[in-house]
Amino acid sequence: MIYAHDSLIVQTLSRFIIPLIQLFGFYVLFFGQYGPGGGFVGGVIIGTSLIFGVLVFGLDPSRSAMVNRVLHGDGLGLLIFAGVGGLCLIGGGEFLNYADLQIPGMELATRRYFGILLTQIGVATDVAVTAISIVMSLSLTEKNEEPNGPNH
């Protein structure tokens, strides 16, 4: 398990900093079509803010119900990405060709813009949840005190 940081300064400051990091992550995610950034980087920043929270406020995997559920969220981002690709198949389109998304009243180029945005959200979800799930997996292992290395 990961123990909470015992400094009040760190805890109070991180209450301000973590939302700022998440705001920046969402900015990078949604600004990725106009500047550097995008789904992967935005997802990593959001995931890092979650890890920051875990490191500061601690995590007891035996008490937290989220630990068991986070693995289910692991596939959610992939499902969004592949699901958008699958939606393009409706109406005889090609897989992952966003111009075939059946959205009435939308130009072809706007459909592709929309498809890029949706898939970037999928990638960001996948990366963020995977980052926090790896940290939760690590927190499940207790520190091995044996000096001669792991014995199991």
């Binding site: 500047g35 890092t48 996948d126 091995n144």
Partner: protein, 182 residues
Amino acid sequence: MDEGALMNFLANVSLLLLLIMTAAGAVLVKDLIGAVLILGSYSFFLALTWAWLGAVDVAFTEAVVGAGLATVFFLLTLFLTVPREKQGQLPRVQWPVFVGLPLLGALLLFVATDLPEFGDPASPPNTHISPVYLENSLKDTETPNVVASVLMDYRSFDTLIETVVIFTSGIAAALLLWRKKS
């Protein structure tokens, strides 16, 4: 050599020296936490190099993943083990290494003279398909950032499989580390 080219050369050389020094430091330092932090600074200098070459997206990813996320993962893993490299016998360097490695390096340097000059507009990567993306990205997808449109639209199959790789890493970590309480 005029002043701008000299500055460019000096910046390139100093970045390269910093990269080599941090990479060697990460390998040589015995204290593993120090090695992880040096590796993070190596990623930072690599990100600076990418930004210097004009690949801002790659620089951003390298800075966030290499200097941020990977460092946190390494540190969390180190907290579960002994943060000190074991004293072991270094393997003896055999004599073919001193002959083979310089030969290989000379061969690589010889071949590198055939590579197109950096930024050459007539080089194959700049004439084959990149102009198609650059000209059509805004018209086709309303996305000014060509990197985003190439990654998520023109080459979205690659990105889908990369997302599968990330998913697999999360699942693999869970499979290796989750144990039922005995």
